[in-house]
């Protein structure tokens, strides 16, 4: 079995981290598998992505066992293996849903937070983990957690390293929905299928706008909206949206 499994259901692509015996800890093979999955996710016939983990865990971050045989410079490792995937994930111009089935810890938490929507099983846990072994949040953890939770809550959480349950994570707004474990993938697929039927090019542009919004000046954001709206009006989905509205029928969007 490959360390990262890819499957398709219609326009939805499911990426499953597949090292269940180590709670899907990240090693070189997982990074490589994730890289090719993210590459494939750019294909125009994929219109929504679900990321999940096999077995009991979502992803517990760096495989510390790997460090026993191969230490090397962690900075180089982050730049070479982690960063390209974090950037590639954010660059996917379609909705990416994390179906968090179990523990999301360390870089696994960063991975979940890099997705656009998080759905969790009731037994899922969210653990910054880094601080507990004297490290700092990496692979985008400091960036995404701050944006999702705000500075005050991010500081308290990332510096205490305490484990957050799924309901707590939902109360904080980190997680959109909490469902029973056996329903998690079904719910995630349902949401992904709904989103995949939307005008996904406009979803991609909205994603870019939101990514920019946190650091942009209002003038620049307005200008970007004007340029992207002009691009959106050139899509087939916009024509279909207007036509279906006028003809009082359900639209059939294609993502183009």
């Amino acid at each position: 079995m490959p360390e990262v499994e890819i499957s398709r259901e219609g326009a939805v692509m499911v990426v499953t981290l597949n090292r269940p015996d180590v709670l899907n800890a990240l090693n070189a093979a997982v990074h490589a598998g994730l890289a090719s999955a993210l590459e494939e996710a750019r294909s125009p016939d994929v219109r929504a992505v679900v990321v999940t983990g096999a077995g009991r865990g979502f992803c517990v971050g760096q495989d510390l066992g790997e460090f026993r045989v191969e230490t090397g410079d962690i900075g180089t490792r982050l730049r070479d293996l982690y960063h390209p995937n974090v950037l590639a994930l954010r660059a996917i111009e379609k909705p990416v849903i994390a179906a968090v089935n179990g523990a999301a810890a360390g870089a696994g938490l960063s991975l979940a937070c890099a997705c656009d929507i998080r759905i969790a099983s009731a037994s899922a846990t969210f653990v910054p983990a880094f601080i507990n072994i004297g490290l700092i949040p990496d692979s985008g953890g400091s960036f995404f957690v701050t944006r999702l939770l705000g500075h005050a809550r991010a500081f308290e959480w990332l510096c205490s390293g305490r484990k957050l349950t799924a309901p707590e994570a939902q109360a904080w707004g980190l997680v959109a929905t909490v469902v029973d474990g056996d329903q998690l993938l079904g719910q995630a697929m349902e949401l992904a299928t709904q989103l995949a039927a939307m005008p996904t090019a406009a979803i991609g542009m909205t994603k870019r706008l939101l990514d920019r919004a946190a650091s942009a000046a209002l003038e620049d954001q307005l200008e970007l909206e004007a340029q992207l709206q002009a691009a959106a009006t050139k899509t087939g989905d916009f024509r279909e949206g207007v036509a279906s509205f006028l003809e009082k029928r359900q639209p059939r969007f294609t993502g183009r």
Partner: protein, 257 residues
């Protein structure tokens, strides 16, 4: 020739010239440069063209020189072919030239973009001078124009390490004038070109020359040049028209005289 190396589209008062060698990421071969220079000179000679947009494709403005062609040439052949000197023709154009850069803008591509009057960059643009990685150096203005545009520290970083700048970095470094969204890289450059084309053509040319003077000679000479250029602009019919239209709160009708 099966495919045109350069596509020209006129939409008065502007013209758009696109480098079209998609299979080679718009690598700038001798043939291509000759065709490009001829196309630009032809548009430059046409009074109805008041601004030119020079672009590539969404994937690449131009990824650099044609390395294969370069590798086959000897130094003396390059010297006698006056290969790089041909680029000077672009600097000598009168018509304002806007580079619309999307995707890779590397080596000779970046030098070509810098030869234009200003650069509009797509968010996807990447600027770099990777020549030293191939054991050569920039030869069409890279060491000089990049240094003037972004300063010594960043120019050294880019040229000595091959570091590529993102569009945002290029904007804050002063290499590009505007960053626009990927979807609109050409439209926004054309919109800017139309803004330029709507101004007085005599004044635009004089202003372009005067700005170029800022990088040649002393400040004193530059100021002197600017003042004389203003007097000359003032003597134009367009200046009369522009000032009158302003007073009468109407749009000026510039004739380029």
């Amino acid at each position: 020739m099966s495919e045109e190396l350069v596509l020209v589209h006129r939409d008065e008062p502007i013209a758009t010239v696109l480098i079209n060698r998609p299979k080679r990421l718009n690598a700038l071969s001798d043939d291509l440069m000759d065709t490009l220079v001829r196309a630009l000179q032809e548009l430059d000679a046409d009074d109805t063209v008041r601004c030119i947009v020079l672009g590539g494709s969404e994937r690449a403005f131009a990824a650099g020189a044609d390395i294969g062609e370069l590798a086959r040439s000897s130094a003396i052949e390059l010297y006698y072919a006056r290969r790089i000197e041909r680029w000077d023709a672009i600097r000598n154009l009168w018509t304002p030239l806007v580079a619309a850069v999307s995707g890779f803008c590397l080596g000779g591509g970046n030098e070509l973009a810098m030869s234009c009057d200003l650069i509009v960059a797509s968010e996807s643009a990447r600027f770099g001078q990777p020549e030293t990685g191939l054991g050569i150096i920039p030869g069409a203005g890279g060491t000089q124009r990049l240094t003037r545009a972004v300063g010594k520290a960043l120019a050294m970083d880019m040229i000595l390490t091959g570091r590529m700048l993102s569009a945002r970095e290029a904007l804050s470094a002063g290499l590009v004038a505007r960053v626009v969204t990927r979807e609109a890289w050409l439209e926004e450059a054309e919109r800017l070109a139309r803004e330029i084309a709507s101004k007085g053509p005599v004044a635009t040319r004089l202003a372009k020359e005067a700005v170029d003077r800022a990088y040649e000679g002393t400040l004193q000479l530059g100021l002197e040049y600017e003042r004389r250029a203003l007097y000359l602009a003032f003597a134009s019919e367009d200046a009369r028209e522009g000032l009158e239209a302003f007073a009468e709160k109407r749009k000026p009708d510039f004739r380029g005289r």
